[in-house]
């Protein structure tokens, strides 16, 4: 026989809505009773699995006027100064307004939409946001073959340093080198990379029927460098198949562009002012056969002098990465 009071405590714990007093009581009960612990796992199973289950279903909300709780990509403001106002909000504007004129223009020129009307972009669904506030570091293992993990070259989560203040929160990622642990041929490396692989196989039907757009954005900054030094930063999205990822000859940083179904990239020069973060962002319409998208962020030396390549980066930072999807409903 289950105790309704204990069940309520468990359910409230799962929604992070216990009062302090209830939490103390709940923890005490858990510590004392094996049957309560077993009941906890019974009730918690749906909570633990539900995000994966709804992601697999790719269900859509009716009358969806609500942004995801994780933040949406913000449009660049004048001078690329970064607003810190985010989080939960109700959106009353149309999706079109959200997208911004630049994106709309690019899309209209890229696709031949039916004459019957302008496509309307749905509210973007956030796939992931990262501002490194937990201090969790990316793996130092190059391009990842495991979904939903950050991996790349040597990097470190840091706080304010060398005149650079995190764009969002108190932490940011410092890109340290252009190679990683066990890189087969580290010689000649010049781009400090960060990757994330995202599984979109559950959205295959949606990709086939609708125009699904992947969006990626990130902020970059560096401390003041000598005037002759030039650095560039980039954001890239690649649409990949499972077969490509399973083939080491193709799933290789030097070869992947050749085999990707589609790619998009923005590559921009970093300014020399540590007080301004530069925004890089790009969008890619995902082909129907897409199984995974690979997000690639990079920092590289800009070759003001042709014979110089840098494998280390003195003071280069990434923050506030946002990845989302949106659809065009006709």
């Amino acid at each position: 026989m289950n105790d309704p009071y204990v069940d309520r405590l468990i359910q409230s714990y799962l929604d992070d809505s216990l009062t302090e007093q209830e939490l103390v009581e709940f923890e005490s009960i858990l510590l004392q009773s094996e049957s309560v612990r077993l009941r906890f796992w019974e009730l918690a199973e749906v909570h633990g699995l539900a995000p994966q289950a709804v992601a697999a279903l790719g269900l859509k909300l009716e009358n969806d006027v609500v942004t995801p709780a994780r933040r949406l990509p913000a449009p660049p403001s004048a001078g690329n100064l970064w607003s810190r106002k985010f989080s939960f909000m109700l959106l009353r504007q149309s999706g079109l307004t959200l997208a911004g004129g630049v994106l709309l223009g690019a899309l209209i020129s890229a696709f031949a939409w039916p004459v019957r009307g302008m496509p309307e972009m749905s509210t973007p669904t956030s796939l992931t946001t990262e501002s490194f506030e937990s201090g969790a570091s990316p793996a130092v293992a190059g391009m990842p073959t495991i979904a939903d993990l950050w991996s790349g070259d040597f990097s470190e989560v840091v706080g304010t340093q060398q005149g650079v203040v995190p764009a969002d929160g108190e932490k940011m990622l410092q890109i340290l080198r252009a190679d990683y642990d066990g890189k087969p041929t580290p010689e000649g490396s010049y781009c400090g990379d960060l990757y994330r692989l995202i599984d979109v196989r559950s959205l295959r039907e949606q990709l086939a029927k609708q125009g699904t757009i992947a969006h990626a954005s990130a902020l970059f900054d560096m401390s003041t460098q000598p005037a002759a030094e030039e650095y560039r930063y980039s954001v890239r999205i690649l649409a990949l198949t499972t077969d490509l990822i399973a083939n080491p000859q193709q799933f290789d940083p030097l070869m992947i562009d050749e085999y990707a179904l589609a790619t998009a990239r923005q590559n921009v020069r970093l300014d020399n002012n540590p007080q301004t973060w530069e925004l890089a962002q790009c969008e890619l319409r995902l082909p129907a056969q897409t199984d995974f998208i690979l997000i690639h962020l990079g920092v590289s030396y800009g070759y003001a002098e042709d014979d110089i390549r840098r494998i280390t980066f003195p003071s280069h930072y990434v923050d506030d990465i946002q990845i989302s999807l949106s659809n065009y409903a006709h």
Partner: protein, 171 residues
Amino acid sequence: MNELTNHTLRVQQLFVQYQSQLKAFALVLSPNFVQADDLMQETFLTITAKAHEFDLESNFLAWSRTILRFKVLEARRAAGVKTVDYLDSLVASCPDQWANEERLHKLTECIQNLAPKSREIILLRYQREHSPSQIAEMLSRTVNSINVALSKARLALRDCMDRQLQTESSQ
């Protein structure tokens, strides 16, 4: 060196194999979705770093859950949470088959069959990752009514999963 690399790769493959279960485990022990993602990232890093210590003949799920538990403890201590005594016994009592692939598959089917209003709340909570108070504001309802609706929906889904698995095993 190659042998060590192959061993690490095999351990990483096990991580992929059990990723769904570990994700569910991380979410249940985290106060929110973002921290659950971070826990997974930290756990993967530690599993890779300690891969050489893992015997491929032993229980990967138990080993990785232990690592994840340490990460939870670290995160809670960093956040200034003092009382974490219950965590050891709670983690130890987690059944091996909890939140496995088969149960995930059944849950997916059950969500499709949920009543529309319940499904909307489940989507707002688990797809849009909103808290009950945020959902209440969106739907112009009280927080308490959303808490009740969420609890009922989860119980209904749990019953549905169990029923489907029982039906399968009796056939």
